[in-house]
């Protein structure tokens, strides 16, 4: 086994062109290897010392979050917390401080788990993944990227350099909530993200996506009926019903499919409610799970 430590994106791309697999924080790759899931790749390139991957750049129309930005950075970055709050909500729930210090956004996305916490926020915020090789870059939507549990459409030599997200219009808010059995070192039983833009008192646009209820992150369809409403009980019920109907959860030792189908509705309506409140200008601290007492009790 061999590993090089890259100090620039060009070094990463050259190593990957020669067959190396990237390692960022290793919290999926190394933990998986030690648990016997899959042996460590023969040739690795460490990407955690590339400064240009660890920045958040706010542009005129979009924001570029480097793939090497850690969860600890995401939950405190001012631009992320203000504009893309659902991502900060999600990052703050990942593992423990130690997991968040080294675990990266790029690793979370490219690992492709249907239970990944940053996935649903990225979908509702309209993010695209920037995939780069020595021959150049392309951008794909999140739903084009994830093709199954642990599988992406990226080629073996494609490195995710950044996640690019359109800057939300004024009067927008987003939130991510998850059901969990304990408050740390936990995987989502189910989770939901919502992004909302308001026009006065009523909803101008809304997107909802779900965690851990399908082979990949699932965006809820058919929420157009919410546009023009101000999100009261009938609309909340509509969100919960749509989420529950579209989810195709599995049963495992963490929860039955029926329980997941029920609780995903509850999480979805709460995510929209929190996103609406943030769009109205209310400051709800990150993560919204703790601020609103969702998820596990202390």
């Amino acid at each position: 086994m061999s590993m090089t430590i890259a100090s620039s994106v060009d070094e990463v791309l050259a190593a990957m062109a020669a067959g190396a697999q990237p390692i960022a924080g290793g919290t999926d790759l190394v933990v998986g290897a030690r648990a016997g899931k899959a042996p460590l790749p023969e040739v690795l390139v460490a990407v955690d010392r590339v400064p240009e991957l660890a920045t958040v750049e706010v542009g005129d129309t979009s924001t570029r979050i480097g793939s090497g930005v850690t969860h600890a950075q995401l939950m405190e970055d001012v631009a992320v917390v203000h504009r893309f709050t659902a991502i900060a909500d999600a990052a703050a729930l990942v593992g423990s401080p130690a997991t968040r210090n080294v675990g990266t956004l790029g690793g979370n996305v490219m690992n492709g788990s249907p239970a990944m916490d940053t996935g649903a926020p990225l979908v509702v915020l309209g993010a695209e993944a920037e995939l780069t090789t020595t021959n150049g870059s392309r951008r794909v939507s999140m739903n084009e990227l994830w093709v199954g549990p642990g599988r992406t459409s990226a080629a073996a030599d494609e490195f995710c350099t950044a996640l690019v997200i359109p800057n939300p219009p004024a009067a927008s808010g987003s939130a991510y909530v998850r059901l969990e059995y304990r408050r740390a070192m936990e995987i989502a039983v189910v989770g939901a993200a919502a992004a909302v833009t308001l026009d006065g008192d009523s909803i101008a646009s809304v997107r909802v996506a779900l965690t851990a209820v399908a082979p990949t992150i699932l965006e809820v369809a058919g929420l157009d009926a919410l546009v023009g409403t101000s999100y009261h009980e009938p609309e909340m019920e509509l969100v919960a019903t749509a989420a529950g109907e579209q989810a195709t959860p599995i049963s495992d030792l963490r929860a039955s499919d029926a329980y997941r189908r029920h609780t995903i509705g509850v999480m979805a309506r709460r995510a929209v409610e929190a996103a609406v409140r943030r769009a109205q200008g209310e400051q709800i601290s990150v993560p919204v799970n703790r601020a609103l007492g969702i998820g596990a009790a202390s």
Binding site: V30, P97, N101
Partner: protein
Amino acid sequence: MSLVNLRVNGVTYPVDIEMGRNLSGVLRSEVGLTGTKEGCDDCECGACMVLLDGQPINSCSYLAAQAADREITTVEGLANGDEMHPLQRNILAAGGVQCGFCTPGMLMSADALLDRNPDPSDEEIKIGLSGNLCRCTGYARIIQAVRATAVELNVSP
């Protein structure tokens, strides 16, 4: 095998290791510092917690080679010569040590927490220690020790 320089508690240790080796194993065997414990070896319990450039990491599941030429702090680096670190003194005084297996990891997480947040609330202490399991004490006395240390350090910085 490759030669990797590990800088632990301010001392550089050149070690000849396989690139797939985990940091806790190399610290305990090649470097010879056994204060860092291996509990679950699976990123769950926090017994292996060390600081990398001042931030806690689970060294059981971190490649030693990725820590090359960075600043690693283990529990052996806390004391000042023969004088215990205030966290060590306070965790003993509070009765926050029973079998002691979790203690090195707890101390490293607590040290990093107080470094970033010198006056944490109980809730913030719980979050700071959320990656460290203790099977003996019930946590209350450990939290008490961290709080006492914060008070002590804030009075006489």
